[in-house]
């Protein structure tokens, strides 16, 4: 059986569909209403954390920042020559401005803050900038997406570009656009970041997953968000 399309054959921009469209009507209904979307529990937690003073500088996020509209749609991005994602940017503020210890990646607090910031960009198109200095990072992410890996020797593109819409173990294969992160995943019964989801994918092909916060992950996130540019952000999304 020949799997998928050759490396580099991408889903044409007009045919891109969010994971939302691959879900059943009940899951979509859960996401659509803020009163039923469990991700909103984290958004509310994020809102209280945003207003709470922290660190030896005794400052709250709210004291410096107004609304965060459009911010989540622009990450990952370059900051002083280094590619970082939104979670890392939040931590940078915590350490540099609030003089507080960085929040652990994938912790409830960091997910809550990133959900709160992300929620404010809901409905906005993903808008990833690729300045000249960032091009190597984008290419590295693209290479990771196209590279076969793991014991099953599969690349992301084979399934997510070539076989999206077909089924794997009874479940529809989406196109893998990170349109709603952090997501409430029903399988996790909780909130998780894009990196958590990507770890699941890598374990699925029996590859050694990258470590949380690694540059490999941020570069792959960068490529995925760039691949989804123009698509609307749905944070906090619900996914099966």
């Amino acid at each position: 059986m020949i799997l998928g399309s050759p490396a580099g054959a991408q889903t044409p921009p007009a045919e891109r569909r969010s994971g939302y469209e691959f879900m059943g009507p009940d899951t979509r209904a859960m996401q659509d209403d803020d009163a039923t979307n469990p991700g909103m529990l984290w958004v509310l937690d994020g809102e209280s954390l945003w207003k709470r003073k922290a660190g030896s500088a005794d400052k709250a996020c709210a004291e410096c920042h107004q609304d965060m509209k459009g911010v989540a749609a622009r990450y990952p991005a370059l900051r002083s020559g280094k590619l970082i994602n939104l979670d890392q940017r939040i931590n940078a503020c915590r350490v540099e401005q609030q003089k507080a210890p960085a929040l652990q990646l994938e912790s409830r607090e960091l997910l809550a803050l990133s959900a709160y910031v992300g929620r404010q960009s809901r409905g906005l198109p993903i808008d990833i900038a690729v300045p000249e200095q960032a091009k190597p990072f984008l290419e590295s992410g693209r290479a990771a997406f196209n590279r076969r890996q793991g014991q099953l020797n599969l690349s992301c593109t084979q399934c997510h570009d070539g076989l999206a819409g077909n089924k794997l173990a009874g479940n529809p294969i989406p196109q893998a656009h990170p349109t709603g992160y952090p997501i409430y995943r029903l399988e996790w019964q909780g909130m998780g970041s894009l990196q958590r989801r990507l770890r699941n994918c890598m374990i699925g092909v029996r590859a050694e997953p990258y470590a949380y916060g690694s540059s490999e992950f941020v570069e792959l996130e960068y490529y995925l968000m760039w691949r989804a540019r123009g698509m609307k952000l749905e944070t906090p999304a619900v996914r099966p």
Binding site: A35, P38, M40, L41, L44, S48, Q189
Partner: protein, 106 residues
Amino acid sequence: MARAIIQVPARAKRGEIIELRALIGHVMETGFRRTESGSLVPRDIIRQLVCSYNGAEVFRADFHPAIAANPLITFTTVATESGRIEFRWTGDNDFSATESAPITVE
């Protein structure tokens, strides 16, 4: 950081059937899962949700381990008078949470 989101219509007509929704953040640990070393993760679930309308109980639900984490309950009641609708969750390990919202009935 236990959080609950409730939805109560702000206004209703007297006698109208209204839909109430209550979503609460809770791990709902079943008590059947085991750790990697084989020991049982103890049960930690919500046991009961009671909804009161101006102090009178209008709805009660007993929760069991089969209910998933962060449970959502949707039910209906009849709008009788203006006042407050209160939701109270209780569970294992002295878990307790309350949320309420006002309703105006014309």
